[in-house]
């Protein structure tokens, strides 16, 4: 399994068809080599100017880092090493910064059983722990909307319900997170391609390439994206050291982040954390391309719907009714 993973990783990061939209393959090596000294000297001046601006943890290597999709295998390795050292210093732990590529023949989809969800928010906090969201200020990828029975108008829903016990009589719950749209409005608008859809359907962000313009947040119809307005704070004893470059590695200030269906888990054959922690089994996850997967069977045999179908975002996140 791990061998296959490795070769897939290489394929994912060097395969010509992934870089083709940016630049013709033939012109890449020369265009990348030739202007390098110029770029360095030019940027050196810029760095000098920015030096006084006290931008957090801005090392030279970090500053010059390329977009993840354009990195060579060697650059990826160097970046991972640098990040591991940085995290070790900050949190005192040895981190895994995975770069596993997509698994061939996988297209991930999600289904959530509205009838079973009890609104306990274990998924919300399980996600925060797994994905190293900032504890102060707080960021939650999952928001659980509570609806009154007979109503499905988000404007009348409430995410701040706080009863003694859930589920409450007369209400039902609908957790919402990134819907991993097939026709994602957020990736389209990014001016620097810092966010994109991976071949296995996961919508990811390169936190080191994001310029923090927040256009993707304006474009998302599901509140699926969150911004680190301040330096994210995670206590060292709570930080999860098993990470993926495009997923739950610790983020920096002033960049956008989002749910990745736990890319660090699903690419090594595990379920997303929210699926695992759900006490009532309301959350289902699997490969949409496999007709026998649980998710495919649910979509085929249950009554399913997707949020805001009228926007043609084509989410890979389905809601369904178990009976």
């Amino acid at each position: 399994m791990s061998d296959t993973q490795d070769s897939l990783t290489k394929k994912a990061f060097t395969s010509p068809d992934r870089t083709a939209p940016d630049q013709p393959e033939g012109s890449r090596p020369s265009s990348r080599q030739a202007p390098l000294p110029d770029r360095r000297t030019f940027l050196a001046g810029v760095v000098g100017l920015l030096g006084t601006m006290a931008v957090s943890s801005c090392s030279w290597q970090e500053f010059f880092q390329q977009n993840f999709q354009k990195m060579t295998k060697k650059e990826v390795e160097q970046t991972v090493e640098r990040l591991r050292a940085e995290y070790k210093q900050k949190y005192g732990k040895d981190f895994v910064v995975g770069t596993q590529g997509p698994i061939d023949g996988a297209l991930f989809g999600y289904a959530l059983d509205i009838q079973r969800c009890i609104g306990c928010r274990r998924c919300v906090y399980g996600c925060v722990e797994e994905n190293n969201q900032s504890r102060d200020p707080q960021i939650h990828y999952i928001r659980v909307l509570r609806f009154r029975d007979g109503n499905m108008d988000p404007e009348e829903s409430n995410i701040y319900y706080d009863p003694e016990e859930v589920p409450e009589k007369g209400y039902y719950y609908m957790p919402v997170q990134c819907q991993h749209c097939a026709n994602a409005p957020c990736t389209k608008v990014c001016p620097v391609r810092a966010t994109w859809t991976e071949p296995d359907g996961l919508v990811v962000v390169d936190y080191n390439w994001c310029i923090g313009c927040r256009y993707c947040m304006a474009a998302c119809p599901y509140m699926g994206r969150w911004f680190n307005f301040a330096d994210p704070v995670i206590p060292s004893d709570q930080v999860n050291p098993v990470t993926h470059y495009l997923g739950n590695r610790p983020r920096m200030r002033n960049v956008v982040e989002k749910c990745t269906f736990c890319i660090q888990r699903v690419r090594v054959g595990k379920y997303p954390k929210c699926v695992e922690v759900c006490p009532v089994g309301a959350r289902k996850f699997g490969n949409l391309l496999d007709p026998n997967s649980e998710i495919s069977v649910i979509i085929r045999t249950k009554r399913v719907f997707r949020l805001k179908e009228d926007l043609n975002t084509q989410p890979k996140f389905y809601y369904f009714f178990s009976i």
Binding site: N67, E155, C210, G212, M217, P221, F227
Partner: protein, 414 residues
């Protein structure tokens, strides 16, 4: 040698002037310094110092940016009659309009940079070094058209003034294509800026095709209103001559633009009110408030009243041709459009949030100080440009005058 003479003369002219000039520049420099200090604080602590949240993720900066793109675009209103219809009185003063466009554009760029979370990564936008996501991202296109417009507004007046400096006639066959190009280009900058918001299906308040036409109509009100005020300042403080006729002509154009703007507003109101869908919520937030929240309500009613009163002033020839009422109308329009196309456009786009929550936004002191600083730097740029180009255009600052002052350093020649 000649070039050195030019540069030293520019330097000399920038640091000499009447007391009022020093006072004005001094005030702007102080405000700019305050703005820079506030911005440094924002860089040190992150955008947490602003009032923005993940719910309302754009605010005061982007509001000002949007307003100023309109001001920059409005330079075209002066170019069309000046060059195409050869309307002499406006032609004389078109360079001042282009100077205004340059300063408005530089403010636009400063405002988006201030809004950027990671200004240290701005090189990611440069094609070749980074990745500019064309043709997909409207923000990418906006960067292209704004920089192109900046180039045109520097190049055209630069060429004409360089010829004037050398006391040679400008070659119209060379420069006219650029002038003609700048007309659709001016339309494009405001259209593309409108498309940034317009293309987002997640935000019904912006996702209406009327947005780009309304942007243009309101820009053609606020930009020229600023120009009218600016020309009166220029002709008061310099020997530069601006005919009343030119100002009244511009005011006439404003009345037409405002009529269209108000008509489009009514069209928008009708559609939302009559169809009465959920898409009405942002408009309701803006004009009456929802769930007891309505930080913008009084602002937008003032803006609407200002625009209507200004429209009446500009449509009646007697008040349009009276400088007291004309200037009053200009101020009303500038403030009215600044509210309407700034906060009044950006904030309701985010309220209610896509899943129905109502989180309000109010700019913090830091944001207001940074914005004040950017406005000051923009006005400083405008002042300094005018300080140089007006004497060149009037023939007071040419190669010959520079040479003569160099040969007679005591300034014996009057």
């Amino acid at each position: 040698m000649a070039r050195f003479g030019f540069i030293s003369e520019v330097g000399r002219r920038l640091v000499t002037g009447p007391t009022a000039y020093y006072a004005w520049v001094g005030i702007l420099l102080i405000l700019a310094a305050i703005g820079v200090t506030a911005y440094v604080k924002q860089l040190q602590q992150g955008l947490i110092v602003t009032g923005m949240t993940s719910y309302v993720s754009w605010g005061f900066y982007i509001g000002n940016f949007t307003f100023l793109v309109g001001v920059a675009a409005a330079a075209v209103l002066l170019i069309i009659p000046a060059y195409l219809y050869d309307f002499g009185p406006i032609k004389d003063i078109v360079l001042v309009g282009e100077a205004l466009a340059v300063s408005a554009l530089s403010m636009c760029m400063m405002f988006v940079t201030a809004d950027l979370g990671r200004p240290d990564r701005i090189w990611h936008l440069l094609p070749g070094l980074g990745i500019l996501n064309l043709p997909r991202s409207m923000l990418g296109w906006d960067i292209v058209v704004l920089n192109g417009y900046m180039f045109l507004n520097l190049f055209i007046p630069g060429y004409i003034l360089w010829k004037a400096y050398n006391e040679k006639p400008a070659d119209m066959r060379f420069i006219l294509p650029f002038i003609l190009l700048s007309i659709p280009w001016a339309v494009s900058i405001h259209t593309v800026t409108a498309f940034i918001y317009n293309g987002l299906a997640a935000r019904p308040f912006w996702n209406a095709s009327i947005l780009a036409p309304r942007f243009l109509a309101s820009a053609f009100c606020s930009g020229p209103a600023l120009v009218i005020l600016l020309y009166q300042v220029v002709r008061k403080y310099s020997r530069f001559h601006v005919k009343d006729e030119a100002l009244f002509k511009i005011a006439e154009m404003i009345s037409i633009a405002m009529a269209i703007n108000l008509f489009l507003l009514c069209a928008e109101f009708f559609k939302e009110l009559y169809s009465d869908t959920h898409h009405l919520s942002p408009l309701r937030y803006l004009y009456v408030g929802i769930h007891g929240k309505g930080a913008l309500v009084s602002w937008i009613w003032f803006a609407t009243a200002f625009n209507v009163v200004a429209f009446v002033i500009f449509i009646i020839p007697a008040t349009r041709k009276n400088f007291a009422t004309l200037n009053f109308g200009c101020v009303l329009i500038i403030v009215g459009i600044w509210i309407e196309k700034g906060m009044g456009l950006i904030i309701p786009g985010f309220i209610p949030a896509p899943l129905g929550e109502v989180w309000e936004y109010v700019p913090t002191t830091i944001e207001i100080l940074v914005a004040l600083g950017i406005w000051s730097i923009g006005l400083l740029i405008l002042t300094l440009i005018l300080k140089i180009i007006l004497p060149i255009e009037m023939g007071e600052f040419t190669k010959r005058t520079v040479a003569s002052t160099q040969f007679r350093p005591t300034g014996a020649k009057a």
